[in-house]
């Protein structure tokens, strides 16, 4: 072996070891987090990994994603080719040229084309980053550096090939159009010049490779090339917005004020973030000028972990607080309270990062350990605990809406469904009309139902998303016990928040019965012909707004649309941002009970978007959306546009029957 080969051997071995070591060092930091690995349902996880990581399914969901997919697939191919580059540099016997033509030629052709495609993708990335970045901070040195290094690496690759072709050493040159073209530029060079050019390109190529593997991948956001694959495997296979329970024991932690109290997956997420900014772009809070950016949240968790790692390992107080106004690496309280837990970020993220879950953990700490929360929540918390509804109205008023229907106390023998009315449906004057409409529809379809009247407690959705797990826990346990005691088998709700809480969160409390949202029930009754609408009621142009907790969090997009179409006989208008990409009304995550002090108002933004379509009615299937859109319409001076729940539209179509 020549001395240069020994140098190469040493260099690449050292680099390989350093790569593995630095990866190990960084990724083992996630062990500072809590909880166990996610290896259940292995097949499903593996499938997810193939589809979303290797198949780039979510990346491709956005137009520009093509460019990333090209990078990714080209890199996969070129990693293999580069392995050959390194090995052949040391052991010439391993050079690809020893392969038979049938294999060698296609590989050379592929490398040439993929490398060229990658160069094209580099150019596109440069243009985009400079002129159309998703967020201004995306124009950072690191971002440019990686693209340029890749470009250098590719150009050097063509340089090597071109010199080899000029030296007459490349038997597949006819199949390497780009390299062949490049070799034209050095045709006249002497053999000595060619030899030194070759070694120059070789070293540039090698150094670029070292920079990528020994700096960019382990120490920058480009770690995602590895962690994103893991994240597609470890993603939450259930509803990512159902927070885990807490146990209320003396000495336990309630929520998180340190990365060490987050889960290992939360920390892994922070290493998987590509900083693409899709979450931020979709986020209603960020969009309307609030402090919160889900991208920044994930970034801050990572920076905090890196800043505090030694202290945490040594069991000391972390020097950089996770919650506070300490700039990078620390999340401001204001931003923590901005989140509506709408899940738009979850939906947008190509690598399944679970943002709102982390926000809720931080809120849990603030509420439960620090009693530090926006003033206006005090009433909500006290009322929910003392009178079991957000407004603090006497529970004896809960059943008042039901007077026209007579005594409807739930009776397991007589009633198929427990109608869990919810606080809005029971106390909010506007929503009471919806409640009556749902009841009327069930009557018309011969569905038997009963209510818990004053014994029904708030489902606790807002409390849970706001981090008041302690009070949520009490409400959930009492409600579930009451359902069991009364022999409830099926529940219908008329609010997506009650729905998601009963259907998903209460599972943690052992509630395992059918819970159905009224949109689905009505759709079912129509499909089974149990409910017949004597007259389709034309309602003029109607626009449907997806509730985050019905749609995005529970995949119910079609039932309300179907119901509306059948009730009106006409097609619906659609928002530009609809279904999975629907834009929150601003009330989720407990924001219903909070002031919106910074930026513009989320509900007004949504209403402005609605008014572009010139609807006569905006339809919802959620009492919170109804309030927010109604208020937004008034603020926009468009009070003539009506807001109706789907049940009201159906009830109007029914009215002819009576």
């Amino acid at each position: 072996m020549t001395s240069s080969k020994i140098i190469i051997l040493l260099l690449f071995s050292a680099s390989g070891l350093a790569f593995v070591w630095s990866l190990y060092r960084r990724l083992s930091l996630v062990q500072l987090g809590q909880g166990k690995g996610r290896f259940d349902r292995f097949g499903e996880r593996f499938g997810n990994m193939l589809l979303y990581a290797f198949g780039q399914k979510k990346v491709l969901a956005r137009p520009y994603g093509v460019n990333h997919a090209i990078f990714f697939w080209a890199c996969l191919f070129l990693v293999a080719v580069n392995l050959e580059f390194v090995l052949a540099g040391i052991f010439p016997a391993l050079h690809l040229s020893h392969l038979p033509d049938a294999l060698y030629v296609p590989i050379r052709l592929g490398s040439d084309l993929f490398s060229f495609l990658t160069l094209g993708a580099v150019a596109a990335a440069l243009v985009r980053r400079t002129f159309f970045p998703l967020y201004p901070e995306a124009r950072n040195i690191e971002g440019y550096f990686i693209v340029i290094i890749i470009a250098v690496h590719m150009l050097a690759y063509f340089g090597i090939n071109a010199t080899e072709i000029a030296q007459g050493q490349e038997r597949a040159s006819a199949w390497m159009p780009i390299s062949l073209f490049a070799s034209g530029f050095i045709k006249g060079a002497s053999p000595a010049e060619l030899a030194s050019l070759h070694s120059l390109f070789w070293w540039v190529h090698a150094v670029a490779l070292l920079v990528i593997f020994n700096y960019l991948i382990p120490f920058s956001k480009h770690l995602h090339v590895i962690t994103a694959i893991g994240n597609c495997f470890f993603r939450d296979l259930d509803k990512p917005n159902t927070q885990p329970r807490e146990t209320f024991e003396i000495g336990a932690d309630f929520g998180a004020d340190s990365v060490a109290k987050l889960s290992w997956k939360d920390l892994f997420d922070s290493f998987a973030c590509t900083e693409c900014g899709r979450c931020e772009e979709a986020c209603p809070a960020h969009h309307t000028g609030k402090k919160l950016s889900p991208r920044q949240l994930i970034h801050d968790i990572k920076q905090n972990l890196l800043a505090n790692r030694e202290a945490i390992k040594n069991g000391q107080e972390p020097p950089l607080p996770l919650i506070g106004e300490n700039g990078e690496g620390s999340c401001s309280e204001e931003s923590i309270w901005d989140c509506t837990t709408c899940g738009a970020c979850l939906q947008a993220c190509p690598v399944f990062i679970e943002h709102p879950l982390k926000t809720v953990k931080l809120r849990r700490h603030l509420v439960q350990e620090k009693s530090s929360f926006p003033e206006e929540l005090l009433n909500l918390f006290e009322n929910s605990e003392q009178r079991f509804n957000p407004w603090g109205i006497p529970p004896s008023d809960r059943g008042k809406w039901c007077q026209p229907f007579g005594d409807r106390t739930f009776d397991a023998e007589q009633n198929e469904y427990l109608f869990f009315v919810g606080c809005a449906g029971a106390f909010d004057n506007r929503s009471k009309h919806v409640t009556a409409a749902v009841a009327m529809i069930m009557e018309a379809a011969g569905v038997t139902w009963g209510i818990l009247d004053k014994d029904e407690l708030c489902c606790g959705d807002s409390l849970r998303r706001l981090g008041n797990e302690y009070v949520f826990d009490q409400l959930a346990a009492k409600n579930v016990a009451l359902f069991k005691e009364r022999g409830v088998k099926k529940i219908v709700t008329q609010c997506p928040h009650c729905f998601t809480t009963l259907a998903n969160d209460y599972r943690q409390y052992g509630l395992d019965i059918e819970v159905i949202h009224h949109s689905e029930l009505i759709e079912k009754l129509l499909a089974e012909n149990k409910l017949t609408l004597p007259q389709q009621k034309k309602q003029g142009k109607m626009l449907f707004h997806d509730s985050c907790y019905l749609g995005r969090h529970n995949d119910n997009f079609d039932a309300p649309r179907q119901v509306l179409k059948q009730a009106t006989g006409s097609s619906l208008l659609e928002f530009g941002r609809n279904r999975e990409n629907g834009f929150c009304c601003g009330a989720g995550g407990g924001r219903m009970w909070m002031e919106e002090l910074s930026g513009t108002r989320i509900n007004r933004e949504r209403v402005q978007e609605a008014l572009q379509q010139k609807p006569e009615t905006i339809c919802t299937a959620c009492p919170y959306c109804m309030t927010m859109l109604g208020d937004g319409l008034k603020d926009e001076g468009a009070g003539e546009v009506k807001v109706k729940d789907i049940a009201e539209v159906v009830a109007e179509a029914l009215e002819g029957q009576a």
Partner: protein, 270 residues
């Protein structure tokens, strides 16, 4: 120095209904809450602890289940909670109640200097506003009622300056310690208990003092010691109101109707 908060557990009156037949309160199944004005008294005694290192004590007279209310006070962080409970204390009016509370406070003051006694300005079930002043006159404390701000507290000179919230005006009053203060809502924003404190409060010992401890003349406490008693409770008759318009579907039209109505009754000066 002691900062004592007198608190009362009351039925949640928004949920209490009057039985029209017997003219008594229907209390079955009605949850108890801390008298809302007392939560401000409690909060202020906690602030005295936080800011001036005073010892905050929550004191309550009531049946044994009042312990729940005192536990809530513990969850908020009082140094000590004492329940004054004895069969013979039952059925007390404000005179008998202030007797028991004053005796207990006096007993505490034997061991540690008394600084301030805080009481809510009144309770939502009795609405008399007499117990605080009753305690003050029995113990010879300065009475500072309807306080909405503590302007200054000088522990060296032992003086306090407060602002009283009166009808249409404020009054700044200064007095030497010890004082009795009755609190209004504007005084402070009560804190919310943290979970670790709530959990710890589950195990805290709430001391109970019965009359064997307090040694008060049984003729001066409870029903026996009460010169006043409630003969009848009833909801006053009132003219039926009127629902005008349809506020849900036609808010603007309804607002117009309302304004016309108010104008016609000359209740709205333009």
């Amino acid at each position: 120095m002691l900062a004592i908060a007198c608190i009362k557990q009351v039925p949640d009156t928004t949920q209490v209904q009057i039985d029209p037949e017997t003219n008594t309160l229907v209390r079955e199944g009605i949850p108890f809450i801390v008298n809302p004005y007392d939560t401000h008294a409690l909060e202020e005694s906690l602030r005295m602890h936080d800011q001036f290192g005073m010892r905050s004590i929550a004191l309550s007279m009531g049946p044994p289940n009042t312990e729940a209310t005192l536990r809530k006070a513990c969850a908020l962080g009082v140094d000590e909670a004492i329940l004054l409970s004895d069969r013979c204390f039952g059925g007390a009016d404000t005179l008998a109640t202030s007797n028991v509370l004053a005796t207990a406070i006096d007993r505490l003051a034997q061991e540690e200097e008394l600084g301030i006694v805080f009481c809510g300005k009144q309770t939502i079930d009795g609405d008399t506003a007499q117990v605080g002043p009753g305690i003050a006159s029995r113990l010879g404390l300065q009475q500072l009622t309807l306080v909405d701000k503590i302007e200054h507290l000088d522990l060296e000179k032992k003086t306090i300056r407060v602002r009283r919230k009166l009808e249409g005006r404020h009054e700044i009053v200064e007095a030497p310690l010890p004082v009795m203060i009755t609190t209004v809502r504007e005084l402070n924003r009560p804190r919310y208990p943290t979970v670790p404190m709530r959990l710890a409060a589950r195990d805290v010992e709430v001391r109970t003092w019965d009359n064997a401890t307090l040694q008060i003349d049984p003729e001066t406490v409870g029903l026996k010691g009460s010169p006043t008693w409630v003969c009848k409770i009833f909801s006053p008759e009132r003219d039926q109101g009127e629902i005008i318009g349809d506020g849900v579907n036609d808010p603007d039209g309804t607002a117009d109707l309302l304004i016309d109505k108010l104008l016609s009754k000359d209740l709205l000066a333009l």
